[in-house]
C-alpha cells in the first residue's frame, strides 16, 4: 500500500437551508485517504457522514473548502468513484448480468472486454446461478452483491459505500463483510465506508473516522492495528470498541464548539 493520497478533503464545509432553517452539515473537515486504505466514517445521524461521502461521489458540492481525487477537484460523479447505496439502486429492468455491464457498456468498452469482466465479477460475487434474474427476484444480500460487482466491473478506484449492509439481516451482513474484505484485499481497492455500527467499523477498516453532529465534524481519526481476520469477541477488539463508543458519545452534554 502506497501512502500517496487518493482522496483529499481540505477545510471542507457544507451549509444549506432546509425549511427556512440554516443547517451546518459539515464544518472544516480535513481528511486524507491513501490508495488501498479501508476507511470507515462513523457517527450518529446528522453528523454529516453521508453528506461527506456524497461530496466525494460528486453528487453534492462543498460550500467551501475542497474535495480532491488524485489532486484534482471533484466536481461531478464519475466512474473512478463507484457508489454502493444502502437501498441498492439497481436498474430493475436489467438482469443481474446487464446491471453489472451497465458501466462498461456506457463507457463504450470493447464487447469482449465487457463480457469477460462481467462474467468474472458474476463469479466473484457468487451469482452465477442468478445471472439472468431481475433485481426483484433477488434477496437483499444478493442485490447488494450485484451493486458491488457493478461498481467493480466499472474499474472504480474508490468504492464509496453508504451503509451498504444496513438493511440486511445479521447473517447476510457478516457474510458480505467477509466477502467485501476478501475482494478489497485481492484488488487493492480504496474503500470509504459509512456505517453507524462501531463493530462493523472496527471489523472492516484500517482507520475509523468518528464524526459528531451539529455541526458535522471529525471528532477523531483512529487507526485500527488489529491483525486480520479480526475476532469481534477478542479482548483487544472490545478495548477499541469501548474507546470508540466513548468518543462517539463524548459530544453529548458538550456545547458545539
Amino acid at each position: 500500500m502506497s501512502a500517496r493520497p487518493i482522496i483529499e478533503i481540505e477545510h471542507l464545509s457544507k451549509e444549506f437551508e432546509l425549511n427556512g432553517r440554516h443547517i451546518h452539515a459539515l464544518r472544516d473537515v480535513n481528511l486524507t485517504i491513501a490508495k488501498g486504505e479501508f476507511v470507515c466514517l462513523i457517527g450518529a445521524s446528522g453528523c454529516g457522514k453521508s453528506t461527506l461521502l456524497r461530496i466525494m461521489a460528486g453528487f453534492e458540492t462543498a460550500s467551501s473548502g475542497a474535495a480532491k481525487m488524485w489532486g484534482s477537484a471533484i466536481s461531478e460523479p464519475g466512474p473512478d468513484r463507484g457508489m454502493v447505496f444502502q437501498d441498492y439502486a439497481l436498474f430493475p429492468w436489467l438482469s443481474v448480468r446487464d446491471n453489472i455491464a451497465f458501466g462498461p457498456t456506457e463507457r463504450s468498452r470493447p464487447k469482449d472486454e465487457i463480457r469477460g469482466k462481467v462474467e468474472s465479477f458474476i463469479d466473484i460475487v457468487g451469482l452465477r446461478k442468478f445471472a439472468d434474474a431481475y433485481p426483484h427476484q433477488l434477496s437483499g444480500g444478493m442485490k447488494q452483491r450485484v451493486a458491488i460487482a457493478r461498481v467493480l466491473a466499472n474499474d472504480a478506484e474508490v468504492v464509496l459505500m453508504d451503509e451498504p449492509f444496513g438493511a440486511l439481516d445479521a447473517m447476510t451482513r457478516e457474510r458480505l463483510q467477509e466477502e467485501l474484505l476478501d475482494i478489497w484485499q485481492r484488488t487493492g481497492l480504496t474503500v470509504v465506508f459509512v456505517t453507524h455500527s462501531i463493530e462493523e467499523a472496527i471489523y472492516l477498516s484500517d482507520r475509523v473516522v468518528v464524526m459528531t453532529p451539529a455541526p458535522g465534524k471529525i471528532e477523531s481519526d483512529n487507526a485500527v492495528h488489529l491483525a486480520r481476520p479480526r475476532d469481534v469477541s477478542a479482548p483487544d477488539f472490545n478495548e477499541i470498541r469501548r474507546l470508540l463508543a466513548g468518543k462517539l458519545h463524548s459530544h453529548h452534554g458538550r456545547k458545539a464548539a
Partner: protein, 287 residues
C-alpha cells in the same frame, strides 16, 4: 462455496408458475373461466330475444336478425345491398385511422413527455399550456378540426390523435417524474451522461407508466373514431353506424357497434400482450 450461508433466504430466480403441462388439469377447470365469462352474454342475448318477442317491438331487431345482418355485412349473399360484404372495407378504414392517429400520438407524446418530465425548462414552458388544453373534450375539437381539415377522414384522424395524445403524454410525464432519483445517481456514477440518460434510464424506468398511457390512449382512440367518422366520412365503422341510423337499419347499427367492440377488445389485448412482454422485469406486470 461462497454463497452457501446466504443462500438460505434466497427466493427462486424465476417465478414458480402452476405447471400446466406436468399435472393434467381437468377440462372443466381449464374451461371454467371461459364458461363463466359466457354466462352474462348468453343470458343477455336470451333476454334480448325474449324482450323483443314479448313487446313486439319494431324498433329493436332480435339478436337472430342482427346475426343475419352481420353475416351479410361480412360475407354478403343475403341482402345484396350497398352494405353487403363491406365489413372489411369499413373495418380497415377505421383501424388505419385509429392506428395512424394512435401511433402518431405515441410518436409525439412519448418524447415530449420524457422531455417535460426530465427538463425543467421544457416543463415550465409547456406544462401550463398543455394543462389548459387537456380539459377540452376531444369532441369539442370536432367542429374546429372539420374547419381546418375539411369534411373527411383527416378530421377523424386528427381527433384520434388528440384523444390518444393526452393520456400518453400525461402518463409519460408521470412515469418520468416518479423515477427513483437514486437511479440517476447510480447511472451518473457509472459514467452515463447527457442524452444517454434518456435512453438508458428515463425511458426504461418510465415504461410501465408509458404503457398505462398507451392503453388509455388506445381505448380513447377507439371511442373517438366513431365520433370522428360520423360526419362527412364515406367509409369507416362510425360512418356505417351513422348511415344505418339514417336508413333506420337498426340491425346494421348494432352490427357496427359489435365490430367496434370486438376490434377494440382485440387490439387492447395486443397492447397488453406487448406490455407484459416488455415489462417482464417488473413484478407488477410480468405474468
Amino acid at each position: 462455496m461462497k454463497d452457501s450461508a446466504a443462500s438460505v433466504a434466497i427466493p427462486p430466480p424465476i417465478e414458480i408458475r402452476p405447471a400446466a403441462a406436468a399435472t393434467p388439469v381437468p377440462l372443466l377447470t381449464r374451461a371454467g373461466p371461459l364458461l363463466l365469462a359466457l354466462v352474462a352474454p348468453v343470458l343477455f342475448l336470451i333476454l334480448w330475444q325474449l324482450g323483443v318477442a314479448y313487446t313486439k317491438s319494431r324498433l329493436i331487431p332480435p339478436p337472430t336478425e342482427v346475426a343475419v345482418m352481420m353475416w351479410d355485412f361480412a360475407f354478403g349473399g343475403i341482402w345484396d345491398d350497398a352494405f353487403s360484404q363491406t365489413l372489411h372495407i369499413h373495418l380497415m378504414m377505421s383501424v388505419s385511422r385509429v392506428y395512424g392517429g394512435f401511433l402518431l400520438a405515441t410518436g409525439v407524446a412519448v418524447p415530449l413527455g420524457l422531455l417535460i418530465g426530465r427538463v425543467l425548462l421544457a416543463r415550465q414552458m409547456l406544462d401550463p399550456m398543455l394543462q389548459m388544453l387537456r380539459p377540452i373534450p376531444v369532441t369539442a375539437w370536432l367542429p374546429l378540426s372539420m374547419i381546418i381539415f375539411g369534411l373527411g377522414g383527416t378530421s377523424a384522424f386528427s381527433l384520434v390523435f388528440l384523444g390518444a395524445f393526452f393520456p400518453i403524454l400525461l402518463n409519460t410525464v408521470f412515469g418520468v417524474r416518479n423515477v427513483d432519483p437514486k437511479l440517476f445517481e447510480a447511472a451518473a456514477m457509472l459514467g452515463c451522461q447527457g442524452t444517454n440518460i434518456f435512453r438508458r434510464v428515463v425511458l426504461p424506468a418510465a415504461l410501465p407508466s408509458i404503457f398505462t398511457g398507451l392503453r388509455l390512449g388506445h381505448g380513447l382512440a377507439w371511442m373517438v373514431i366513431v365520433v370522428g367518422e360520423m360526419t362527412g366520412v364515406p367509409q369507416g365503422l362510425g360512418a356505417v353506424i351513422m348511415d344505418a341510423r339514417t336508413l333506420s337499419r337498426t340491425d346494421l347499427v348494432i352490427c357496427g357497434m359489435i365490430v367496434i367492440g370486438l376490434a377494440g377488445f382485440l387490439s387492447d389485448k395486443a397492447i397488453t400482450w406487448l406490455s407484459s412482454r416488455m415489462l417482464s422485469w417488473s413484478p407488477q406486470h410480468s405474468r
